[in-house]
């Protein structure tokens, strides 16, 4: 075999391997969709009929899980928390990226350091604090949207800061220097020039914080009882009560994946920048 022919064959083999790996990686997701389109009996007996899909599990799931409630709660809490976290991160990230201040390094280390603390560590005191507030003050945070929004805002702000810092570093400083030469204050330059240029970064940070909040289970389990529960708790409760209802569970899984999938792929270009920048650029 000539070397060139050998190279051609190797390349062909590697392409085939690439597609095979893709299929393996995607197959659980395809299986999620396929099994959500079957009936309960088909999944229990294993007599799948993939050619005749039915949406019956989606209808049953919507009624038996009270999915509408959980979906509304998730949308409210995750949107509000992601917005707040992005706003706080935009301002703090700008300070970290551009304005040298005393304690800057300590603040930066603190932001990363929050990731070192296990959630269970501050969950207990936060839980006790919420209960104490409820019993002794008119401030009700336990099992409320506000309570969960505040917790998630705090929870995902550090990661969001690191995202925003990267996006600000990528904006040429000449932009705000020019604005300040033209008479803008430092804050004016940040507000009118830098923030609009960082719009993709703001969107990416929002979506990332939203994805993280959407996925959170530990805190929402402990800090809600009934009214402010989100989708992960809803699904977990459902497993507890109807563990054999796999068609409905898969349908719930599909519905709770769609919003984040859409958000991710719509903003994928910037999200990928943010996700890789942290690791690649330090």
């Amino acid at each position: 075999m000539t070397p060139r022919r050998k190279k051609h064959l190797t390349n062909w083999g590697l392409n085939a391997l690439t597609y095979a790996v893709l299929i393996v990686m995607l197959s659980p997701i395809l299986w999620l969709i396929a099994s959500s389109l079957q009936t309960r009996g088909q999944l229990a007996s294993g007599d799948y009929d993939l050619l005749h899909p039915t949406v019956s599990a989606f209808k049953q799931m919507w009624e038996s899980v009270d999915f509408g409630k959980y979906l509304t709660n998730s949308l409210i809490i995750c949107t509000a928390a992601a917005l707040l976290a992005t706003a706080f991160a935009a301002s703090a990230g700008y300070a970290l990226a551009r304005l040298p201040f005393r304690g800057q390094k300590a603040f930066g280390v603190g932001v990363v350091g929050t990731q070192l603390v296990p959630g269970s560590m501050f969950l207990l005191p936060v839980f006790l604090g919420f209960i104490w507030l409820k019993q002794n003050t008119p401030i009700h945070l336990f099992d409320t949207h506000i309570g969960m929004i505040l917790i998630y805002t705090a929870f995902f702000t550090p990661v969001a800061i690191w995202f925003m810092r990267y996006f600000f570093l990528a904006i040429p400083p000449e932009l705000e220097e020019a604005a300040m030469v033209d008479g803008c204050t430092r804050f004016g330059a940040f507000w009118r020039i830098v923030l609009p240029s960082a719009a993709p970064g703001l969107v990416a940070t929002f979506v990332y914080a939203f994805l993280l909040a959407w996925d959170e289970l530990l805190f929402v389990t402990a800090l809600t009882a009934n009214r402010a529960e989100t989708i992960p708790v809803g699904i977990h409760n459902f497993i507890g009560n109807y563990s054999e209802e796999y068609a409905q569970l898969m349908a719930a899984g599909v519905v709770s994946t769609i919003p984040v999938m859409l958000a991710f792929f719509a903003t994928q270009r910037w999200l990928v920048q943010g996700l890789t920048a942290g690791a690649v650029k330090g």
Partner: protein
Amino acid sequence: MSTHSLTPTEIAPPDPPPPATPKRRSRRPGRHLAYWLIAPALTFMVLVHLIPSAAGIALSFKNLNTFTFSQLFGAPWTGLKNYDAILFDSANPLHSGFVDAARNTVIYTAATVTGTLAGGLGIALLLARQFPGRRTVRTLMLAPYVVPSFVVAVLWGFMWQSDSGIINKILVDYTGILHDRPTWLLGHNSLLAIIIPSIWRGIPLAMLIFLAGLETMPRELHEAAAIDGAGPWRRFRYITLPLLRPLIAVQLLFGVIYSTYQFTIPYVMLGSNPGSDADLIMTLIVRQSFSNNLIGFGAAASTLLMLVMLIWVAVWFRAFRRDLEAS
């Protein structure tokens, strides 16, 4: 790296300060602004991270067993008793439970991080080549990362089912690789049952980071080595891998922390009490704190966990200091 080089022009004072004039404030424009800008984030971090963490450490020295509020502040201090019970008191069931969970957590974390990095690197090497449909394949490969962890747990919990699950169908009915149907969600297999989905979900992010690294890699080194007669394996071993070291380091650091603190996948797939074969430190802490009201125990175990993470960061820092300075 290029982005960092942009900052010095900005940090440098715009004009040389005239000596001995009281205009010091203008030398550092935005010093106060910076504090205003970090204030909201800092407030939240102090209120939700810092103060509760300190309170958590304090709770670990208290004998807070039955959950009542009168006891929260009145609970007696017990010094290191909680730690003693966890670490050394072999007659205490909490001790053996902790030892099992610690062992399982080490296995889970080591396997998940290794699998994620190896899988991510392998796929990144495949996708860094030129091939038809490259862009689409790269986008589609990210999909598992976007499936929420609780959905991952529900989905794989279904796939692992002994009788109706697709995995046993493939392994036993379709291919005959295995003869009797294993139960995946009980006993020895249950740790594997949470490790594999965790790797599956982790691979796309690792792949993304490695791809970014492979793409910024100078081609000349590989070309020169190829001319000198180095085969693909030697080029990978002596050029690609060393250049990816900083990326491996960062992912090791955060991968270990993230996996050790993983709660959703084990909790949703195996329940709050998965048994000694698959109990993890996080599920143990949450179960003892919230189901059994052993709050002092939960706080002490959380503090120990954080100490272990601090040690891990220190070890990591020593091991990869050179890479940090290089990048």
